[in-house]
Structures are given as C-alpha cells and as structure tokens.
Symmetry: C2
Subunit: 203 residues, 2 copies
C-alpha cells in the first residue's frame, strides 16, 4: 500500500492558489487574475477558465463568500472573501510541506536529443532561454526594490522577498549555464565544419 499525496483536496491546485490570494485581500475573480500575474506570476499562473469554475466550487464548499458589488460607472462585480473555514483550509494547506515534483522541462528534453538535428536548433532554444532569464533578472531586482519600498511595514513582505530571491538565484545560475552551453554548442559546430571542410578538400 502506498501513501497518496493528494486525495480529497490536499494537493496544490487552482483552488489553493485562489484561497491564498484571498488570504491577502478580498477581491473579484477578475482582480485575482491580475493580482496573480503581478505577485506570483513568475511561478504560478491561472486563467479565467480555471478561476471562475473554481470560485463556484469554493463557494459551494463555504470556503469563500461572494458579495455582489454595484458601482456607478463600472460593471457589476462579485467580490469574494475567505470564510473562517476558508482561513482554516489555507493554514492546513500550508502545514503540508511542498512536494518535490519533477517538472517537465522542454528545453532540456530537446537539448538532450540535440545530436539528431542541426546544432543551430539547440542554439536557438538556449539563446532564447538565456534572453528570458536576463530579462527576468532585471525584473526581479525591480520587484524587490518595489516590495521594500511599498510594503516595508508588512511582515508578509519578507516571504514575498524570499520567492523573488529564488528567482534571482535561479536566473543567475541559468544565465551562467546558458552562456557556457552556447560556447560548447559553438565548439561542436566549428568542429563539424572543420570536418566537412577536410572532407571537401579530399574530394
């Protein structure tokens, strides 16, 4: 018999992310989307196609409450907030240590099989990856600055900064690896060209 990681909602999915977001402040589904993108968008995304059905289920389970809000000059909206039960659920969820899953990595998969295609193909993948990581690094520095400026009083800001710091460590390492790998790919290519040049001379 095996222990299961998730069964009746112990796993981490859209619902947990939404409960987490609502633990920061009550808001509408529309706002959740934007808040998620701004705050945890570097490691977690949600689409409307997931958010609205999830909010429906969470409401049925009495983990969140919906309040219709009518405002002049704006469309109506439904503002959701955590119930006491919802707050408990967030705490319970946080008490379960995060699983150490192995996420699928398309870049590495393609690179692993890189020998079966022109080197330029691998090069492009790695190059675009490095560019992305450099941009991310810049972004992380800005985000950290902003958090320290705007939320220096909030005790939760320290946790937010830890996740930003993860990004910094990650992206820095990835840029280093990427540059090194690009050099190695170039070496492979120039060796291949030498080889074909020698072949031509012989012909």
């Amino acid at each position: 018999m095996k222990e299961k990681t998730g069964k009746h909602g112990t796993g981490t999915t859209t619902s947990e992310a939404l409960l987490g977001i609502l633990s920061i402040a009550p808001m509408s589904g529309y706002d959740m989307r934007a808040t998620i993108e701004r705050s945890i968008g570097n490691f977690w995304n949600e689409s409307f196609g997931q958010i609205y059905p999830a909010l429906k289920r969470l409401t049925e389970e009495k983990l969140v409450e919906k309040k219709a809000e009518r405002r002049k000059g704006h469309p109506d909206r439904n503002v959701y907030s955590l119930t006491a039960k919802g707050e408990d659920r967030v705490r319970e969820w946080l008490e379960v240590p995060a699983a150490n899953e192995v996420p699928r990595n398309e870049l590495l998969l393609k690179l692993f099989f890189g020998g079966h295609a022109p080197v330029s193909a691998s090069r492009e993948s790695v190059e675009s990856f490095v560019t992305r990581q450099q941009q991310a690094l810049k972004r992380y520095r800005e985000i950290a600055k902003q958090i320290r400026k705007e939320h220096s009083d909030d005790p939760r800001a320290e946790f937010w900064l830890m996740t930003v710091d993860y990004g910094r460590h990650y992206s820095e390492a990835m840029v280093k690896w990427g540059r090194k790998t690009l050099k190695e790919l170039d070496a492979i290519e120039s060796r291949a060209q030498e080889k074909s040049a020698r072949k031509k001379r012989r012909e």
Copy 2:
C-alpha cells in the same frame, strides 16, 4: 488572431519524448520507461499509462513500427523503432525552439503565503527541498562521470552532459538559496519569540 504554439502535434508531450527515446535505440514500451528514468528522469517522466496508448497512436500514424519478439526464457515483447517518417518528425520537432513556459512551483506558492502559518511550516518545505537538491548534486556528478566513461566516443554524449550541467548549476544555486532562506526563516521565528517573551514579561 493569435499564433498558437501547438495545434496538430507541434507541442511537446509524451509522443515527442518517446520518439526522441526511440531515436537513440529501438526498444519496448517497458524499456522506454526504464530508459527515460535513467536518462532524462531528472527533467522528464513518463508512466505506463501514457506510454502504451501513445505507442498505439504513433503506430497508427506510421511514425513507429512494432515488431513482436519471442524469446525463450522471457515474456514476449513488442520492440518499437522509428520509421523514416518518425525520424523526420523528430527533426522537425527539434527545429522548433523550446517554449519558455512558466512551470507551477508549489514550494514558492506556499512560501509566498508563509506569513499565514507557523514559520515551521515554511521551514520544513525549504529544508526538504534543500536536501533533495543536495542529493541531486551528488547524483549529477556521478552521472557526468559515468557518461564520460561509457560514452566518450558517442557524439551525442556532449548534449547529454549539457543537460546534466544544467542540473548542477540549478541545484547548486538552489542549495545556496535554500540555506540563505532557512537563515531568514530562523530570524523571523526568533524575532517572533522575542516579541511574545516581551509580552509575557509585561503581563
């Protein structure tokens, strides 16, 4: 109108991984599972529940060929190999640069909301993560050594080593981040304890 990343199979999924594996050597579905675990298991996993149905589809699409193998002293098995069409497909797939997706990261999600639970909860998550990364680091060093020993002649080995090197860069950075983060979590906790101690003294 938006460009779609994947439509009729341009995406990267079980099928592509299997085609890639078969580009290295023909083998049975059972062997694919084991091979995947040994070779790309650090960034890509497949289960039998995916492998067998995928092989069926790939056979129908004439991308792979099945040959029944009967051997005395062993159960029968189906050995799959790439067709010419399958080899083309692998090359086409490799020519499309890897997408820069944002994988969901449960550890960071929980850490982000860490302020809503005891610090010990965050601590456990990070601690287990660091341990995992340290083990991975050891494994990577062994794998690299083994590849250099057993496949020094194979030109594809260079690509394999690049993926191992990714792991090394990644895990090293993650161990650094994890240790730093554990220290910060400890600081938060001791500050909280001081606070409650002062409170007690006042009572």
